[in-house]
């Protein structure tokens, strides 16, 4: 529970493997909170491939009613190579009121990226979620997932986001839920949700086969470049 001076809020950081759809899930979560009438800040903390994740969507998301902390295209002129530069305001994102959703890129440092965010480790509401897709070869088995999650530092919950893009079927989602659940038992870290795309939502109820709540997402990233 949070103190009276610090009313409870949603503070979530999404980490995980390259192309595990951290950004997609973060964007969907932020939009869901906006629809609940909450004040939301979405933060691009991808330091390995920044600018390309949330940038093209920035305006659209802002129109939906949230604050997006990501580089503006115009601000990037002259940055060159990839513009792997931390936007100063992202460092202080947790000092903002309301809910904060952080999209953290892949990389060997995992959750340690949060060292760069003021007050992250003191924030009572912070939840760090690892996004896992068993269709990715480095996180395909229970053992691999256990090693991967242990490598990333503090993780508070696992998200089963197993899919095969346009070829996703119910079987891969179910297999993912089973595998992530097994890893969860070894790690002692709960599975927070199983993510399914809108197109498959009808095949699932409120929970997946293993009782994890199902979160339906819409894919926005095809409109981003990467």
């Amino acid at each position: 529970m949070s103190s009276a001076q610090h009313p409870p809020r949603v503070v979530e950081a999404y980490i995980g493997e390259y192309a595990s759809e951290k950004s997609e899930i973060a964007v969907n979560r932020a939009l869901e909170l906006v629809r609940l009438g909450k004040q939301v800040t979405l933060v691009d903390l991808d330091l390995v491939e920044p600018c390309y994740t949330l940038r093209p969507l920035k305006k659209e998301l802002e129109r939906a009613g949230m604050t997006v902390l990501a580089w503006e295209t115009a601000e990037l002129i002259g940055l060159g190579e990839t513009g792997n530069v931390l936007k100063p305001s992202t460092r202080f994102c947790l000092l903002r009121p309301g809910d904060v959703i952080m999209d953290i890129g892949y990389g060997i440092s995992g959750a340690r990226v949060l060292n760069l965010v003021e007050n992250a480790w003191e924030d009572p509401d912070l939840k760090i979620y690892a996004v896992i897709n068993i269709a990715r070869p480095m996180t395909a088995t229970v053992d691999q997932i256990v090693d991967h999650v242990r490598d990333m530092g503090r993780v508070d919950g696992l998200i089963n986001n197993s899919h095969l893009g346009d070829e996703t079927d119910v079987a891969i989602v179910d297999q993912g839920a089973r595998t992530v659940a097994a890893a969860s038992r070894i790690l002692g870290i709960p599975v927070v949700t199983t993510v399914v795309a809108e197109s498959l939502a009808a095949s699932f109820g409120k929970n997946d086969l293993y009782g994890h709540p199902v979160r339906v997402i819409r894919r926005y990233m095809p409109r981003a470049f990467w």
Binding site: N84, V85, L86, P88, R91, I108, R112, V113, N115, L116
Partner: protein, 261 residues
């Protein structure tokens, strides 16, 4: 007596105000190195004669940092571009600014040969132990055991070798007239003193001048302020000794010039 209160830290006169605030990350050392360089240019009164060249990597973010003639080049190629400028117009004071990748990896042949030819240029190399702009890969100066995106299990010195000791190498191959030093952004006045002496060495036409600046990259180190400082002061300075390695006999003044208070 009236007390003057400065609300803002003073920016060097030769900084380009139109490009401030600068584009480096919070906690990045580049801004400090460039502040030291800016102060040295101001103190020497050479703004109108300086040609500043920057490399690829985060150093390129300085392409419009100064109100001096500037050129952004290719990765590793800032040294030859400015050698070319200096050879074509020796009245100019040229500064080649690069990172550890540009100077010690892809452009190492240029650094070595410009140093050996005793080209009258000033090379300033920012050593932050990592390729930052490309997303945190191993640099020639990455520390033993340091985890990077290309050494995810840590730099193994048996596989990847030891961190490059650049100033030591340059000092070993240069001859009379060269100036070589290693400073750190944690002792900024000393660093400024080294850079100033490096520029004076060029102005006096003595020879090649080279300053490596130990610098910080909290973004890619994934460190908070305390961890950043500890890495710089303990890990890096333990391996990369700070000080002057080569001072021409006829150079004015000693290392005391820029001592910290």
């Amino acid at each position: 007596m009236a007390v003057e209160i400065e609300l803002q830290p003073k920016m060097p006169k030769c900084w380009n105000l139109a490009s401030k605030p600068h584009k480096f990350c919070p906690g990045c050392g580049h801004g400090l190195v460039l502040k030291a360089l800016g102060q040295a240019i101001d103190e020497l009164g050479i703004q109108d004669r300086v040609v500043f060249g920057c490399d690829i990597g985060c150093s390129l973010l300085s392409w419009d940092f100064f109100d001096v003639d500037s050129v952004q080049t290719h990765h590793g190629r800032t040294t030859p571009v400015l050698v070319g400028v200096k050879r074509a117009n020796p009245d100019l004071i040229v500064v080649a600014y690069m990172g550890d990748g540009g100077g010690y990896a892809i452009g190492s042949q240029h650094l070595v040969n410009a140093a050996n030819r005793n080209d009258r240029i000033t090379a300033i190399l920012c050593n932050n132990t990592i390729y930052a702009m490309t997303g945190g890969q191993m640099a020639p100066t990455s520390m033993p055991g340091q985890k990077t995106e290309t050494t995810p299990y840590g730099r193994d010195v048996n596989e990847q070798g030891y961190p490059m000791l650049g100033p030591e190498m340059v000092a070993a191959i240069t001859h009379e007239g060269a100036y070589v030093a290693r400073g750190t952004v944690s002792k900024l006045r000393t660093l400024k003193g080294y850079i100033k002496k490096a520029l004076e060495n060029q102005i006096a036409g003595r020879g090649f001048s080279f300053v490596e600046a130990l610098s910080t990259c909290p973004t890619n180190w994934r460190t908070n302020a305390q961890q950043t400082w500890a890495f710089l002061e303990e890990n890096m300075q333990g391996y990369f000794p700070v000080g002057e390695l080569k001072v021409p006999a006829d150079a004015a003044g000693g290392a005391s010039e820029g001592e910290e208070e």
